[in-house]
Structure formats: C-alpha cells, structure tokens
Symmetry: D2
Subunit: 303 residues, 4 copies
C-alpha cells in the first residue's frame, strides 16, 4: 500500500469540507482554533508513519484521551473496570444524566463523560497519578517528549466544568467514585487538555492495530482486551453518531471536540485525522469524510 498516495487522495477529497461545521465553542481556548486546518496521518503495524497537511501540528485531544485511559486501566488493573462501567452504546447525548439515574450510577460505556470519569478515577487509584501516567505513555509511544497538557485549556475546562462536576457528584452519590470529586475532575480535565499532533496520536494508538503490542514490542494489553477497546470504540466512540460512523466508515474510532479522530484497522494500521469544524454530534466534518473515503479507496472497512 502506498500510504502517502492514498493520504494525498483522501486529503484532496476532504479539502472542500474543511471549514464546514462549527469549531467547538464551549471554552475560549478551543473556539480560537483556525477552522481551516486539516491533517491526516497513518501509522502501520511496523511503526512506519506517514502524513499529509497539518499532520505535525498539535491540537487539543479532548475525548480521544478516553481511549487511552481505558487502555491504561485495562493494562494496570484488568477487566474489573467492567464492574463499574458498561459496554453498551448510550443512545443519548454524551453528557446525559438520564440514563445514569435509571442505571444507578453505572455509566453505559467508558466513552461518555460519566464513564470516562469512572475510568479516570480507577486509573488514579491504580497509579496514584492518572494524568502523569497517561502523559508518560503518550510520550513513550509517540516518541515525542514534548507532548504536554495545555494549562490554559485545563483551567478553562475546570471553569466551565459544572456539567462534569454534576456527573462526578452524581456517581459519587451511588458510590461509584473512590477518589474525591475534585481529584477526579482535575485529572480528567488535564487528560482532555493534552495537545498532540496527528502523527503523535497515530503512533500512540498503534497498539490497537497491533492487538495490544506497543511500539517497542512489549505488550500493553492481551489481544482480548485490545479487541475490547476496539469494539467499544466502534459501538460508542463517536458520541451519539456511533451507528452512523460504523455505517459510513466501518472502523473503530474515537473522536474529540478538538476536531481529531483516531481510527483503527486491526492488523494493518492506525489513522489520525484532524480538522476543527464539527458536525452537530461533535465529530469533525472533514475528518469523518476523510476516513470514509480512506475505507472506500482501500476497501479496508471491517465490514
């Protein structure tokens, strides 16, 4: 596969959609991002990485971090996390409290905000420092020691974090948080505020295409748990549009409101695309189109 040529074609296809949609507005640090950016990178299972466009420019990973915190919790503590968070799609907007109430404080899956807070709480209990644990993992996998939190974004998230605070206190009322709400929120906001490029993210998520094996050849997860992460990404990874993403793109994927999406082709490669304009579900308009076209060109959908 000539990845570079495919990425060129995909970028050309997606170009007219760049700037469409709406850049995330809920915090100023995100609202200021240039809507015209577009980058895409692919890391194959051999560790080779390719990219086009703004593929080396860091952006705010936001909810993409949820895939990494899930993997790290599985790596550190195994499948016991599934006692505290489900594996089913939510069928509701990503920050809904409704389902949480009907299901007694057990979030539907680890990629809605409530579920990610539980995963962060668990990672904090397992490691003593959830934020630093993730940062070190991402630096190691991307080979980029400059991967860092954006303190302005983290502070801004905290300032506008009442909805997440409500979710955290709500789960605490059901006994589904072990650490203090303020600790969990702090680490959660820091993880969301990590800045990485498409290149960094494609490399950092390459273990998901390699059935759990890291870039240095050591194993992060057993194949069974890597498969779990991919399955949950496919059914729950793109907010309330997971069904539509499966239907159009047909790959496990995890998006963030920073405009990034990581997608996995098991056994082959990991992709990361970035363009800040979001559709009404919170997924990058040009990013989804690019991934759709990539699977069309390569025939590599899982379906």
């Amino acid at each position: 596969m000539d990845y570079q040529a495919v990425l060129q074609e995909v970028a050309a296809f997606a170009r007219p959609l760049v700037g469409r949609g709406q850049v995330a507005q809920y915090i100023p640090a995100l609202a200021d991002v240039d809507a015209e950016r577009f980058g895409i990178a692919v890391a194959d299972v051999n560790g080779e990485v390719h990219g086009v466009g703004d593929w080396q420019e860091p952006f705010s990973v936001q909810s993409i971090s949820k895939a990494f915190s899930l993997a790290l919790v599985l790596a550190e503590g195994g499948e016991r996390i599934w006692d505290r968070v489900g594996t089913e799609p939510s069928g509701n907007p990503f920050n809904s409290l409704v389902q949480l109430e009907y299901e007694n404080g057990i979030p539907r899956n680890p990629f809605i905000n409530a579920g990610a807070l539980v995963v962060t709480d668990r990672l904090q209990s397992l490691t003593g420092d959830a934020g630093t644990t993730m940062l070190e993992f991402l630096r190691a996998e991307s080979g980029n020691p400059d991967v860092a939190f954006d303190p302005v974004v983290a502070a801004s998230e905290a300032e506008h974090g009442d909805r997440n605070a409500a979710l955290a206190h709500f789960m605490a009322s059901y006994g589904n948080l072990d650490n203090p709400v303020t600790t969990v929120l702090e680490h959660y906001f820091r993880q969301c505020a990590i800045r990485m490029s498409c290149r960094d993210l494609a490399l950092a998520a390459a273990f998901l295409a390699r059935h759990g094996v890291r870039n240095d050849g050591t194993r992060l997860l057993p194949a069974r748990e890597a498969k779990q992460v991919n399955a949950v990404m496919l059914t729950c990874g793109t907010y309330d549009a997971a069904g539509s993403f499966a239907y159009r793109v047909g790959l496990p994927g995890k998006s963030g409101v920073g405009g990034g999406i990581v997608a996995v082709i098991p056994g082959r490669c990991t992709l990361c695309v970035w363009s800040p304009g979001l559709d009404t579900y919170g997924n990058s308009v040009a990013g989804v189109a690019a991934l759709d076209h990539f699977t069309t060109v390569t025939g590599w959908s899982v379906f």
Copy 2:
C-alpha cells in the same frame, strides 16, 4: 479452513451451556420448544455449507427476519428508507416507546420493533406483499422450497401483539406509516413466524458475506449497502446487548427470540447458530458462546 472440525470444536465448547437461560415464554408456540437443542451451520462465500448438531431442524426465525427485510427494502427502494428510520443504537430495551416519542416517531434503527415495522411498511409499499416477497427470497437463497410461515405462531403473535400495535399506531400518529396499521402488523407477524433451519439461514444470509452478491451470482445490493446492513447488525443487531456482543464476539450479528443468531464474517462466510435458551437480553446463551468461541478459534473477529 476445515469448517467441519471447527464447528465440532465450537459445538463441544458450547454444549455445557445448552439448556441454560430461558426459552421465550410470551407465546405458547415458542414456549414449547425443547431447550436442549443446539445447531450451528456455516456457509462460505463459495456457497459451500457445513453444519453440526440440529443444524437442519427448522425453528422460528423471529427478529432475524428484520435483517432480511432491511436488505430487501434497500434492494427494492434504495437508501431512502434512512429518511424514516435511523442507524443508531437505541440504548433502551428493544420495544421501548420512550425514544420514539422524543424523536417524533422516527425509530432509532431498523432492528428495534418500531424500526422493523417501518421497514415492513416500506417493503409492503414497494412490493404489494411484504410477507410473500421475503418468503420467496428466503426459499431462493436457501434452495429450500419448504421454507414457510408457521400460521400458529403468526396467530399467536397477533393475539399477544398489543405492544407492537401500540408502536404502529404511535408511528402512524407521526405519519411514519403509509399502509394501514393492521396490514403492517399482519405482514410483520408473518415474517417473524417464518421457520428455517441453521442451514437455510446461513445460506440465505450469505450475500452479506459476499458484499451483496446472491448465491446465484446476481447482485442483491451494492457493496455499499451490504456494508450498511452489516454495520447496523453490529451496532444494533442483538437487542440491548449489542455493545457486549461486539465486545465478546466482534461480528455483525442478528438474533431472534426463537434462539437463532446469524453472524457475518465479511469476505469469508456467514454463520447461523441455534439454541433456544435466552439470556436476559433475549439472545441465545449457547449461541453467543458458540460464536465467541468460533472467533477465538479462527481469529476472525472484525476487531
């Protein structure tokens, strides 16, 4: 691949679970089925079929018919069906009215009962006889002219059909049914009451592994639409346990409360497993375990 040997091993693995769970009780004709039955069949993309156990014994297909009616509507009328039914997981029990109300009569997906009623209504409009259209298709693909409706089951479904009648009237109140409620219900109940064996079903769904091509080499669906059916099966095909099915089995699958499950390995083969004991979500206990083991043995999960 020595399918016969693999099926033997899978059957041996699942055997201890046969009889576990609860046979569907809501109509007498289903409640009387022998809980100890187990069969599994595989039809590969070349049309070869293998099976073990009770793989040639007909059972009530129930909701498995929803996958065929979706495919037939796409074949007859194309993607306009997606204006009237969504592609997202429901996040709620399969017969819930709640989401339908919040979403103005547009069912979340074609595999919840409300969505299947809309699909049946559309198939009726496109063909003039939704029930017969499906029957003829299933007979042709399975090569079995004896495939038929079970009139006792269809009558029993109708007698206990108030919940489906409520769904149908509710959608009619939003203008999302074109035919009279009684007509739609009649064809819907007939489709659910079709009796087929694992062998018949694996052959009949082989077009989904063949990217839309029927057993006689003609094309039922464009590859793009076959992929849509598979994607919706993966995210919505096993009631409120689709996430867990994706996580354990990792294949597009459609289950029925008769105890059958059809699963697809795109490009390779279609499986059908049957065992009447159901878990709390309505999926065959031994059937899910068998498919889980099949993907473990073959390494053929999509993830």
Copy 3:
C-alpha cells in the same frame, strides 16, 4: 352574592383576551369554531343558574367529560378504580407514553388520556354502555334532553386517533384494559364528542359543589369520593398547567380543548366558562383569566 353582576364584571375583564391563543386544530370539526365566542355560567348549590355571553351555546366538551366518567365510575363501582389508575400529577404532556412505560401500564391519573381510557374501560364493564350512561347522566343533571354526541366530531376523533389507539394497545399489553381496544376507543371518542353549553355543564357538575348530591337531592357519590374528584381536578385537571392553574385560580378545574373549563367552589357553586382560543397547554386563555378574576373578585379561592 349577586352572581349576575359578578359574571358581568368577569366577562368584561376577560373580553380583551377573547380570540387570543389558538383554536384546537387537530380535527377539522374543532378548527372551524369561531374564536370570538365567550360564555360563562354559574350554578349554585341551590340549583340556581346564571350566565352571561354565549353561555347557552353548545360546544364540544372534550376532556371535561373525563371528570364525569371518573365520577360515574366511582358511583357505579367505588374506589376500586384506584387500583388501575393513580392520583398523581403526570409532570409530562397529557398524552405521554413515557411515564406509562416506567409505571407498567398504570396511568398517573384519570385525566391524562391513558387514565381516561382506563376509566372508560371500567365504566363500560360496569354499565355495558359507557357512552349512553354518561349521556343519560348529563341530560338528567342539566335538565336538557338535547345533550348529544356530535357524530362528525366522534368520527373525526377516531380518524385522527392513532395516538389514543397506541395508548390503549399499550395498556392492553400490560393487562390494564378489560374490553377490546376498539370498544374502549369508540366510547372514549363519543364521550369527548358530547356537545353542551356552559349552562348545561355548570348544572351537570353541581354535584361536585354539593359534596356528591345530585340536583334532584339524591346522592351520586359519598362526600369522601366527591372530595377525591375535586382533589384530582385541582392537581391534574388542566393538563401540564395544573400547578399554574392552582397558583392563579386556586380551584379544582377540568378543561377541554374545545375551550371549556368547569371549576368547583366546594359548598358554594360550580362554574363553567367557554372561549375557544387555547394557550400552549391546551387551556382556554380567556377562560383561565375569567376564573382567575372570579376568585379575585369573590375571594373564593380554596387557598
């Protein structure tokens, strides 16, 4: 109390609001009503009746009939009806299916449509002809043998009755209907289609001001049950605006989308006001204002 003078003042006060709001549109027979009509009548506990404006002109009683069917069921069958329908406000639009699902087919109260269908079903079981039973009662109390169903409205209700059919089938699926759905709906639609004037309705509901005693001095209900009807009217009688009606008017009241409202001042009198323009909750704009002013002028709120 010089009722005639008070009614004159109330009518003058409400006059500027007549024509405001929206005449019910869901069936043609209601949409054609002249929005400029306004009438008000009062029947005191001694059987004296007064009125001003269009107080002798018949209109479609619609949901006001729900108060009479509740009273007749209590009269015929006593308090066992409360096993099948609750006494709590619904907190949701009057035709919601959501709560019904969470509460296993037991409607919240007898004045939401679902609850009224259960009451009609019970009245049918108790009398063999729910519609005629109500008609005879209303003719007797009003002293008007011309009180009748409007067959055009009843047919129109049935034609646009999918939502009510959904509710009825849904409750039937929980075993909370004894008669066939079509029978219940037929009697329900006939009751809604009764035409009466303010004069007729004030007289017909006078037993509620008289603690259960009919106009001929015989007792329809024990005082305890008359109090129950009044209490449920206050907490649930005006759709999703019962709290606001209690807060503004402070009387038990039952409204209908025909623009009528019956209100009760226990121990003193029964009022009926009519003006077809409805607010967003389905209550007569000028009617609510008139009742509000009546309680202000007389000081006769229950609070």
Copy 4:
C-alpha cells in the same frame, strides 16, 4: 372549635400508626431519632396555639424549610423568582435529574431539591446570608430564641450531599445559580438542619393561614403571594405523593424527612404534626393519617 379536644382525638386515632414506616436513614443523625414520637400542634389565626403529645420537642425540619425560604424570597424579591423555578408538580422522585435536563436547568417547582437550591441561591443574593435570614424569621414568628441549626446534622448533610452537589452543579451549568455552588449548598444544608418543635412550626407558618400577615400584625407577603405558596404546597409539597395527599387530606402541606408536616387551613389555622416513621414517599405515616383525620373531624378540607 375546641382545638384541644380535636387534637386529643386525632392523636388517639393516629397512635396505632406511630412507629410504622421507616425513620430516615441517609444520615446517622436522623437515623437515631426515636420512632415512637408523635406530636401535633395548631396555631389559629388569632395566635392561639394548642398541642398534644411531643408537640414541644424539637426535631429536624428538613424540607419544611423549603416553604419558609420560598416565602422569604417572595417577601424580599417578589415574583421574579418564578422566572427561575416553575410551579408544576414534578411527576418524578424529588431528587430526579431527568426533568431538570429536559427543561434546561429550570426546576419544576421550589419544593423539589433542585428548586429549593435555586430559591436558596436567590435568598442568598437578596440578603447576603440566607441561613441567618431564615433563622431570624423563624425565631421571631415562633417567639422562641432557641431555634437553631443542628451543626451535626448540617455537617452530616454536607458529607452525604453528593446528590445535591450534582443538582447544584447541573443548574450552574445552565446558568441558573448566581452564587458559588459551595455557598449555596452550605446555606441549603443549614436550613435543612434547623431544629424546631411542632409548636414552633405551627406559629412560624401561621402567616400562611392569615393570607400573608405575621404574628405581630405586619405583613410578610401580599395575599396573592401567600395564596401562591399555599397552592404550590398543595400541588408539590409532599414529594411524589402530592396528589395522594390532596386526595386524602385536602390541604396545602409541606413535609420533611425528619417526620414533620406543616399544613394550612386558609383563614383558620396552621397545623404541624410530627412522627418520624416515613412512608415510601418520605412523608410521616402517622402524620398524614393525623391530618387526614383532622380534616374528617372538622370538615375543613379545602375541597
């Protein structure tokens, strides 16, 4: 009316129910209360007070404080509070987040916890010290300078306050709190933790029977606003059993999980009853029965 004799009879009637139900368990300070206590007091509009049983023993007022904070906000700031909180029954358990989400952070009424938090926030903005404002009012009306917060209960509420913290953050996310969440919660928990006797409470709420006039003859509220408080108490004052309370007792009432209930007979008197055993809705079992019997004996229901 010989109040003393009526109270004796009511107490004798309720006696067999004392100890029934369950004392509130969610904080230790409440769980330790003796279930066998029962007291009842009545304050008539002339300021005369009578009581029987444990009517002079202080208990935790809990949600009864919500009626006072509403009255004080109306007194200090007028009806603008109704822009931020509704007047409709909730139709859901008292601490539900569901409705709050569907209604964009505007609580249904001031007596569910979310609504009371908004009222407390407003009282804090209007007075600079919501807790002290209420305490001073209650001391003045009861004539008892010993009315005080129980610091143990307040601390315990805060420790188990995650559900209320979730509600407060959730409303803050909609912009419906002006003060910091921690400030609002502190004052809210202090108000709940006030200890008063039946005697104190009957006197303190006497202005509601006197159409807004305090015990010293000055006016706290215009008659119109006193009527509003009574109306909201009737439709929303007893958690998810307001309809049933209206139906049985037929009076405006506000209950608390400490086992107290204040009820108002406009123009006549205010009652307070206390017995710690609660029904499944959180209302005192013996208390509701006592009020029911009081209205039966006196014939003083509003219906």
